[in-house]
């Protein structure tokens, strides 16, 4: 990934934009956090949250005119959160504590004239930054208009207490000091900066500044260097006064640092946030009333009211995707992690597993209001890893060997329909359906030959998806080339695919491409047993049909014709979830793939129907009653079909090879040669437990056969004299397989299997 591409992707994700309340607050208080603090009954933290933005929380918390509430998202579903009342609750129940200043004192000096909220804020902000601040007030006390509030709303002792912080910040306070034009000139000489917090009494300002009284509204700077003033005139809003003071403080700091006053100040003013918050489906709630208006919220009421906060977030993609949840963050940070991982030259690439765990299914892009596709980034990065030779071999080796098997003579086959020497169509069942239910492939092929005129050829092989997903574009393109050549040898017939993954791989390459479901939706369906049809099924859309509404509709159409009532899962059609097979997740991260399945099958208690063999097998393997659409179409023994276990890896190979031999024999009257290899005659006795271990460790029957064949032929094995067990190994490719076994009359009982990738270099070890 290039740096600018990273930036482009990062910018798409708006999750880190502030909630509406914060964006709409003139000083951008983090009300969302405040609500969480209150919910946790952590008022210390609540005060800290307020103090982070508010100069005098005890005061502001009691008098703020809360423009945030006008924009609070809660109003879409109920009434706006009573943010201001909750702030008041906080300051009534927790006193402010001031942390010791950490910044080193600076030598530069600032004179602040006027101690209304504006001047107070400027003095406070700059003193906290370490400047030497002197505050001039013509009256005999600080606070200006603050004293005009009712004693009940803002008790005088609170004003005194809150403003005492100024002493602790070592601000020089000069009361009873009115500033005349002459004094001003002196201040300008004596101090590096002078700030006039007098905008409200604009007469004073005009008097003091004369014709130089105009002010820059963005920076609060006057035309005189080093002289700043309030920019709001006729303002009634206390929080805007604070914001105005803050704006000036920022400018003064920049002025004293000698940097640009105007650079990137856009987000200082209140603005509309880009954060997307989905409120659909959230129950509306009205504001929690106060039992005693004048006393304010009780703790119980405050908890309830703060509890109404939506804790505004986007995270739409994360809510839908177990992979994103697994790594605890969201795309904005994921793309950066991925970028950094890709950029590592020396050192550990901690992110590899994460990058290889994504299902590349595009759900995030379909859900995200900005269309961000994390899968695209993961896929591109896998390609980059492969091209740099940095792809961990163990991640996808097994899947790629499986692909090689499917494109080898063991499975691959291209034929015209028996008795034809041209093909108008060719059926491409795909390797997974052929492995999971070879008998259905036979049925579909027979059905198509019966229904369609012009010859229906057959092509058995792999579409190349594993290579594409594993980031190996070269392998993918080469596999596609062979596939295209085979297809051309049939005279470029119209391609009928049963598998949505194949469909997604062929979409661009083959203009005349049709899914089996589209085709069947318009053809007569096989005659149904009247006893088995009907009932309700929930549809699992294959993730590779995400942008194929035609296929999704065809599936529903077929179900309706078969008499089924359809239930839509919460995430369906364009937003459907992957079953954990997509992107080879189940190979790179089997634990995560399990969670993905568990999440998906918990969405509804209704029986599922899938039209991808992998979805069906993965769900059924976790105990979810799931039909394949073909089970319903060719409906025999549906009870068994729904709970039929997944076909394990070893038998997937066997099923494919058998299917090929059977079809060649029964349809084309050919007797294919049995595959060579003495190991194939080794008879294995496998119990359930060992089969499970084999499945987990991805060790195939043929791997075990080879180990035993070699050991028995050469005597290269270990023996346990007490039990008669043998332990032997073989390294047919970059994996060494170990098998513990016992020989019996009928064959070899397999007791345990394991493997490692590391190579042993000892001489005695062949």
């Amino acid at each position: 990934m290039e740096q600018d591409e990273l930036k482009r992707q990062e910018d798409k994700c708006i999750q880190e934009n502030p909630p509406a309340c914060t964006a709409g607050c003139p000083i951008h208080l983090d009300a969302r956090k405040l609500m969480l603090d209150i919910q946790k009954q952590d008022l210390k933290s609540a005060l800290a949250t307020m103090q982070k933005k508010q100069p005098f929380p005890g005061i502001i918390g009691r008098i703020c005119d809360h423009p945030c509430e006008n924009v609070c998202k809660r109003k879409d579903v109920g009434t706006t959160i009573a943010i201001s009342d909750l702030e008041r609750y906080c300051v009534q129940n927790q006193t402010t504590t001031v942390k010791k200043m950490k910044v080193p004192p600076k030598s530069q000096t600032v004179a602040v004239v006027g101690s209304g909220l504006r001047g107070l804020t400027v003095a406070y902000d700059l003193a906290k930054k370490g400047y030497k601040v002197s505050l001039f007030e013509k009256a005999d006390r600080l606070g200006g208009n603050l004293w005009n509030y009712s004693e009940h709303q803002l008790p005088p002792e609170v004003i005194v207490e809150e403003l005492s912080v100024l002493n602790r910040l070592d601000i020089q306070i000069k009361l009873n000091t009115a500033i005349t034009q002459q004094d001003l000139a002196k201040l300008q000489e004596e101090f590096n900066v002078v700030y006039l917090g007098l905008a409200d009494q604009s007469n004073d300002v005009v008097e003091l500044l004369g014709e130089h009284s105009s002010v820059d509204l963005v920076t609060c700077a006057t035309q005189t260097p080093g002289l700043f003033r309030g920019s709001l005139v006729g303002n009634e809003s206390p929080i805007k006064s604070v914001a105005d003071g803050r704006k000036a403080a920022v400018s003064i700091d920049r002025y004293l640092l000698g940097v640009s006053l105007t650079g990137s100040r856009e987000s200082e003013e209140p603005y509309e946030t880009k954060l997307y918050v989905k409120t659909k489906g959230i129950a509306p709630l009205p504001v929690v009333p106060m039992n005693d208006e004048s006393a304010g919220y009780t703790t119980e009421e405050a908890l309830q009211e703060a509890g109404r906060c939506l804790n505004c977030q986007c995270l739409e993609c994360v809510k839908g995707c177990v992979f994103m949840q697994e790594y605890g963050s969201y795309p904005k940070s994921y793309v950066r992690q991925i970028y950094n991982n890709d950029a590592i030259v020396m050192g550990l690439r901690q992110g590899n597993k994460m990058i290889n765990s994504c299902s590349l299914c595009g759900q995030c892009a379909a859900i995200c209001p900005q269309g961000l596709d994390l899968g695209e980034t993961c896929k591109a990065t896998r390609e980059s890893m492969v091209s740099k030779g940095k792809m961990p071999p163990s991640a996808f080796d097994f899947a790629l060997r499986d692909m090689a098997f499917n494109n080898s003579e063991e499975f691959a086959l291209t034929r015209h329909q028996p008795g034809y020497n041209s093909s108008k169509y060719v059926f491409f069942p795909g390797c997974q359906l052929s492995a999971s239910s070879p008998e259905q492939v036979e049925k579909v092929y027979a059905y198509l030959m019966e229904k369609l005129d012009g010859g229906v050829g057959l092509m058995l092989r792999c579409c190349g998806a594993p290579a594409d997903w594993a980031g190996d574009q070269e392998l993918f393109q080469n596999s596609l080339k062979v596939l295209v050549a085979e297809w051309e040898s049939l005279g470029k017939p119209k391609l009928i695919v049963a598998c949505s993954t194949c469909h997604s791989m062929f979409r661009e390459k083959f203009p005349e491409l049709v899914s089996l479901w589209e085709l069947m939706a318009d053809l007569d369906l096989p005659v149904q047993d009247p006893n088995v049809s009907g009932g309700k099924v929930a549809v699992q859309d294959a993730c590779t049909t995400r942008h194929e509404p035609v296929i999704q509709d065809a599936v529903r159409h077929i179900l309706a014709r078969l008499g089924y009532e359809i239930e839509e899962l919460p995430y369906s059609k364009e937003e459907t979830k992957c079953c954990g097979f997509g992107g080879l997740t189940s190979f790179a991260n089997p634990e995560l793939a399990k969670k993905i399945v568990e999440d998906r099958i918990s969405e509804s208690a209704t029986d599922y129907v899938a039209y991808c063999a992998m979805c069906r097998d993965n769900f059924a393997a976790k105990g979810k009653r799931t039909f394949h659409l073909l089970d319903l179409i060719f409906g025999t023994n549906l009870e068994e079909a729904a709970i039929r276990p997944r076909v394990g890896f070893s038998y997937r190979h066997e099923n494919r090879a058998k299917l090929r031999r059977k079809l060649l024999h029964s349809l084309w009257k050919e007797a294919p040669q049995e595959k060579e290899g003495a190991f194939r005659t080794i008879n294995l006795l496998l119990n359930e437990k060992v089969l499970e271990v084999m499945e987990d460790r991805r060790i195939l029957i043929e791997d075990i056969q080879q180990v035993i064949e070699l050991a028995e032929r050469t005597g290269q094995k270990f023996v346990n004299p007490d039990t008669g067990h043998n332990l032997a190994h073989f390294r047919p490719f970059k994996v060494t397989f170990w098998v513990e076994y016992q020989s019996q009359e009928q064959g070899f009982v397999v007791l345990n299997v394991y493997s490692h990738r590391m190579e042993i270099l000892e001489d005695g070890h062949e």
Binding site: G347, L348, R349, Q350, N352, P392, P393, S394, A395, A711, G715, Q716, K717, F718, V719, N720, P721, D722, T723, N726, L727, A728, H729, T736, W738, N752, Y754, S755, H756, R757, M758, E759, I760, L761, E762, D763, G764, H765
Partner: protein
């Protein structure tokens, strides 16, 4: 790597090639172009090496993974 096979647990295996006893020894191994030594069982007489399940799925796997991510 210091994944020592459990010494208290007696090793039940004998070399099937020559009938020799097995003993712990340093064994050279390599992965992705990196070479290192592992302590494992090998035949005293002919040097035939036995990798236990514990080693293969434990320390060996860990090292494989970290080398793959280098």
């Amino acid at each position: 790597m210091n994944n020592k096979p459990n010494k208290t647990q007696k090793n039940p295996w004998k070399c099937g090639k020559c009938g020799g006893e097995l003993t712990l020894g340093m064994i050279r191994a390599s992965y992705l172009g990196n070479e290192f030594e592992v302590e494992e069982l090998k035949c005293l007489k002919c040097g035939f090496v036995l990798i236990t399940e514990d080693l293969a799925l434990g320390k060996m796997f860990e090292v494989e993974q970290s080398l793959e991510n280098k």
